[in-house]
């Protein structure tokens, strides 16, 4: 339980920034503006990870999401979009149906989030100070096989992205 007034305030401010920028990501009509608000959302989420005592994940969030993923998406947009940028991010015809599905999802998940007895599950012990050292040791001992598989996944994704995005020859015999 966080009881300090500053962490409570920080949670509400960060939650407001995250939700507001996420709504703007979805509602903006210019896709470049959408990606900008996506970066703001990711950085606010890194702050939320700091409140949750996950400093390493906050750094990774800024590096990978706010840095790499946003820049890569901007590159993708600039390589693809040649028409007017102002109308590049519109809604399709299923918007009302999507709203219904989303309202249902939100109602069900909100109901279960509200009725589950989270207090019975809580461990009530603080997170250890040296979390990064322990994560490193766990990643290279107990979770070493998933770690290596993740490395393999990144290699396959790298090669796959290059092969897919490479210029395709229309006729090999030419």
């Amino acid at each position: 339980m966080e009881t300090s007034i500053y962490s409570v305030l920080a949670f509400y401010v960060l939650a407001a920034v995250i939700l507001g920028s996420a709504i703007l990501v979805v509602s903006m009509r210019n896709i470049v503006h959408s990606v900008l608000f996506l970066a703001i959302c990711f950085i606010a989420m890194a702050g939320l990870f700091l409140i949750l005592d996950a400093a390493y994940l906050a750094v990774i969030q800024v590096l990978v999401y706010a840095g790499a993923v946003c820049i890569m998406i901007i590159f993708g947009v600039m390589l693809i979009q040649r028409t007017d940028m102002k109308q590049s991010n519109l809604f399709n015809r299923q918007t009302f149906m999507a709203g219904g599905v989303v309202a249902l999802t939100l109602a069900v998940s909100g109901f279960f989030a509200g009725t589950t007895a989270w207090a019975d599950l809580a461990a009530n012990t603080p997170v250890p100070e040296d979390s990064l050292g322990q994560i490193g040791q766990l990643l290279l001992s107990k979770y070493v096989i998933p770690f290596e598989v993740a490395a393999l996944l990144l290699l396959v994704a790298l090669v796959g992205a290059i092969v897919l995005a490479k210029e395709v020859k229309a006729n090999v015999d030419d």
Binding site: E2, Y65, I73, G76, I80, N89, T95, W118, Y143, A150
Partner: protein
């Protein structure tokens, strides 16, 4: 009301997931759908890290799982953008409603 419990994080994550889901279902641009998938994955990450802090603070399972989610999300964006670029080269469009080769 001056305490932050696990419920706050779960509700925040549910709302963020719903915003992402709405974007995935209702956007025309394929890149925009990729962006909204990232929002959904981040909502899941908030859940995992909050569970890691409040339920198993000494085992770091949630944090390690979140690291793998971030890895897979990065790979997914790379391959997804490559696929969209390859489709754009053939079709000169990124509108998902026009990707209908598998229909007959």
């Amino acid at each position: 009301m001056l305490t932050i419990s696990l419920t706050h994080y779960v509700v925040l994550s549910a709302i963020l997931f719903s915003i992402g889901l709405f974007g995935v279902l209702s956007k025309k641009n394929a890149i925009s759908v990729l962006i909204c998938i990232e929002l959904m994955l981040n909502a899941v990450n908030i859940n995992l890290i909050a569970f890691s802090k409040y339920i198993t603070p000494n085992e770091f399972i949630g944090q390690i799982f979140a690291i793998f989610v971030i890895t897979v999300a990065a790979a997914e964006v790379g391959v997804g953008l490559a696929i969209i670029i390859a489709i754009y080269r053939n079709k000169l469009s990124v509108n998902l409603d026009e990707f209908d080769w598998l229909k007959w």
